[in-house]
Amino acid sequence: MSSSPTLASRLKGRSELGVALLLGAAGVLVLVDAIALVTPYSKSDPVGPKTLPYLVAGLLIVCAIMLAVNVLRGGQGEAEGGEDVDLTHPADWKTVLPLAGAFVANILLIDWAGWVISGTVLFWGSAWALGSRHYIRDGIIAVALSVLTFYGFYLGLGIPLPAGLLAGVL
């Protein structure tokens, strides 16, 4: 750490330290939770419910520290490739955030408005976020998928998805 570059410059471009932080936080969380467990020693269960959490917490915290050291020394995780993945351009948050937004909208709507509406919002919103601009066609596909899965699950699989606002209609 005492070498010429300052701490700030070392931290620059090291977003992977966030992973180490997350690991460490998870480790501490598991540790605190395990300490809070109250169990009298019992002969029939000498291991008890605390042993594994302690080991897991230890593993997480050790990994967090090692990863932090590794990243500060210049180590870097390899981002995953794939058929539709182009790693040459940076992460495109303008796509990811609306996509997550469509997902959240579905969570908020599903129990109140029902699957047919929330599923339509999810599909249409996701397709829009991913760059589709055929508003009408997307809408038709979204409604068709939602209605089909609603009846498919209800009639075919016997799983009643929530009907919500359309309870009388469907």
């Binding site: 020394r73 981002a79 794939g82 990811v96 997550a100 999810l122 589709s132």
Partner: protein, 537 residues
Amino acid sequence: MDVFSSLMDGFATALTPMNFLYAVIGVLLGTAVGVLPGLGPAMTVALLLPVTYVLEPTSAFIMFAGIYYGGMYGGSTTSILLNTPGESSSVVTAIEGNKMAKAGRAAQALATAAIGSFVAGTIGTALLAVFAPIVVKFAVSLGSPSYFAIMVLALLAVTAVLGSSRLRGFASLGLGLAIGLVGIDSVTGQRRLTFGQPLLADGLDIVVVAVAIFAVGEALWVAAHLRRNPLQVIPVGRPWMGKEDWKRSWKPWLRGTAFGFPFGALPAGGAEIPTFLSYVTEKRLSKHPEEFGHGAIEGVAGPEAANNAAAAGTMTPLLALGLPTNATAAVMLAAFTSYGIQPGPQLFASQGPLVWALIASLFIGNFLLLIINLPLAPLWAKLLQLPRPYLYAGILFFATLGAYSVNLQAFDLVLLLVLGALGFMMRRFGLPVLPLILGVILGPRIEGQLRKTLQLSAGDPAGLWSEPIAVGVYVLIALILLWPFLFKLIRRNRPAAMPAGILAKSGSSEPTDAGGSGSHGSHRADATSGGDGDGDG
């Protein structure tokens, strides 16, 4: 009952019209979803899990057999017709397969892949039918100490052997084990990591975890890096092979099978190593070595056979020991458990008809793949042209549907999003997904065996090595964990063999921690966690 008559009974069960129909549906669904870019076999099984929930177990598993092989096969079509493979196991197939397709021989590449998969799958399933009962016979003599050791081996081997960074593998394993801890402790009734949330008391549903990490994580990750100009799909007619192709393919099929099955059956064997070994072998043995790199049919036939034989091999430890060795098997194990069925040596005794029906339907599924997929190949190729916004919107749509339909509570969707974000982060920073999934599934089992072991020995840690098999497995674990360290020692003692220039270069420019300065870190992480493993002994 001997293997043959049990298997015949299995066929009798699997070939009833309804069950046969489920097998056909399974193969079609499995292939269709497996062909789609971005969806590997593990994700295919996870996404289709809810569909099977309403079926009775036998029918459900027959459908699963179809989905399993269909998903495996679908991946190879993608890697031949598109430029880049999605699955690590079809990386090798893509090398020659895509070259063949570009040279106008896509039909032959697909044909040798399909027929090779059939040959390897059939031989592999036959080996499974023969070996699984033998493994079971051996496994019933094992007690908790041995099971504990074997499960620890499976976890550590997957974490330490696969992937480019051991440190990141262990980080992923830790996260998985932590997720597996959530819920009420089965022995004492204590709530662990539930934060007072009653909805967390039953633990995290494995379907939700798998769908989140595989499907939602992948969709978000692809969304962030979506290719602006989609890859060129090579048009293809009906697959066929000429006489010369058959002559050049049949030996690689058999050799590929020989590589694939044993590796698939080993913990952490997987399909990557045997497909690569097969490729190298075929390149060396080929009469046309000059064609390699320009579309040699042997380079498709061998690795594809190895891939499918490994898929069959994976079923051996899964059925006989309850031990998943890859992500797909882990999800299958989750499926078994959700039906209240515990894979393992007792399974063959308690659920004999079901197991043999499953094995029989693996044969049937394999055969169906061949006769369905050869004529349908052009259709599958069309699936590859699906507009990407629809594909990934559809993945999110069905992931949501699948996760929600398990318990019908919106809370699961919150978990889905949170864990999906975790999956995104893992892809961004190179944390392998497999150790996490195995950690979630094996963690609670390992804990159970550990407690049973120490219960039997009345708290004496010596109980852990009270069985010879357990001791042997611990030696293996030690070897796996210490291997990079030993390797380094050997290399250091032979300075002439490794010029210092290479070492220095890898230290300064290697982006991963696989070599050079970073690797010190990962060794220490390994040693420490190895110490942890011994510590609970």
